[in-house]
Symmetry: C2
Subunit: 234 residues, 2 copies
């Protein structure tokens, strides 16, 4: 996020001291990956992020991502071999943890602290509505769906239970971090996509709220960035 030094160097136009305008630009920089490494929203934008997450804009942004994804999915000629695949991340992509974050702060996920573990075990996270509609569309179209998450194997049962109660079903495989798979998400996830490729799957689409879900080699044919101004996972 912009530091004091860069803010001194770049002359901001008048009006940019308006928090809403600035935080809109900050959020764009996060969504385009221009911001690079960040942790959670800067203090100046923390109430902006709250408003965004609870307002219509988050819904609208998510809906347009789902529509873009469907428009691409429609162009794929699904073959009968079952190899036409789509990869989804889970947290903040299929399901929303905002109820937890609003009580315990976004840092609790990064730190994987007790409160976040407890929340995951409670399996209460609801679906992100646009993602559920996209997921069901892809299932009907015949895509083979892989779920690829940074959650550990120890949370498999809770994750399955949460996904089912949120309305998701019919995925081909849920891939979690096994013991010793401690690479950063961007490395771990690219490695898993490579394994799927070796098995013969063609990954057409990949949906994730983190750039570390999407970047790295091999990438999907098309990647879809789901909005998340709450936290960053490297």
């Amino acid at each position: 996020m912009p530091s004091a030094i860069s803010q001194t160097f770049i002359q901001m136009p008048s009006g940019i001291d308006d928090d809403n305008l600035y935080c809109d630009s900050w959020r764009l920089s996060v969504e385009t990956n221009n911001a690079g490494y960040w942790k959670t929203a800067i203090p100046r934008c923390s109430s902006y992020v709250q408003d965004y997450i609870n307002g219509t804009k988050y819904l609208s942004d998510s809906m347009v991502v789902a529509m873009d994804s469907i428009d691409f999915a429609k162009t794929i000629n699904i073959t009968s071999d079952g190899n036409d695949a789509w990869v989804f991340d889970i947290d903040e992509t299929l399901i929303s943890n905002k109820a937890h974050f609003q009580r315990h702060g976004y840092e609790s996920k990064r730190a994987n602290d007790f409160s976040f573990k407890e929340w995951v075990e409670s399996a209460q996270a609801p679906a992100l509505p646009a993602s559920l509609e996209l997921y069901n569309y892809l299932k009907i179209r015949g895509f083979t769906i892989f779920l690829l998450t940074g959650r550990p194997e120890s949370q498999r049962n809770a994750t399955v239970s949460n996904l089912l109660s949120a309305g998701y079903s019919g995925w081909c495989r849920l891939i979690l971090r096994g013991k010793g798979e401690d690479d950063p998400a961007i490395v771990f996830k690219a490695g898993k996509r490579a394994e799927l490729g070796k098995e013969g799957y063609k990954i057409h689409g990949n949906s994730g709220d983190q750039w570390s879900d999407l970047l790295g080699y091999p990438a999907a044919e098309r990647s879809f960035k789901v909005p998340n101004p709450m936290y960053f996972v490297p």
Copy 2:
């Protein structure tokens, strides 16, 4: 951009028929490359794009990109061999053609029609203020600057003249499309980055308003997407 079919499938939340909300989400989808291939703004968002381009938000978004770029540039230890490089696109990255587009429409660039050629020859495009500040910062820091554009060699003189009058100077090389270099921008530009790499340059940063400026192999260490909701170049 979302088609009628995907809009039927995805249930939009109430309020999303608000053009401003919808077009904000559409612009985000363009800036994150979720939108994939598009030409110019959909009719519903054409006046929104006009307002954006002429308003404070475009300035603010551009400033934050420049600040992100500076924050990254500061982390680079510049060596004395002159090989620490930064690549800039030109149109809508260093200079703005909006005065032309407002008279002749965004399609005139894509079509490279007579009015756009005439505009380029007139060399009147002003600097985008945040980019000029970033450029000068990088120059002072000692980066070797390459300008990489889809403009043809025949426009070299006009381009140099325009850049100088807009306030840019001191680049190492201006790379335009030579005869027969007719690949799509994403291929042409990645090829030129590969050549720079073979010459020993290390491309730390790459600034462009199009994803075709930034994607493709080899990529820069960090890529910076400058906003442009006006047109798309594949």
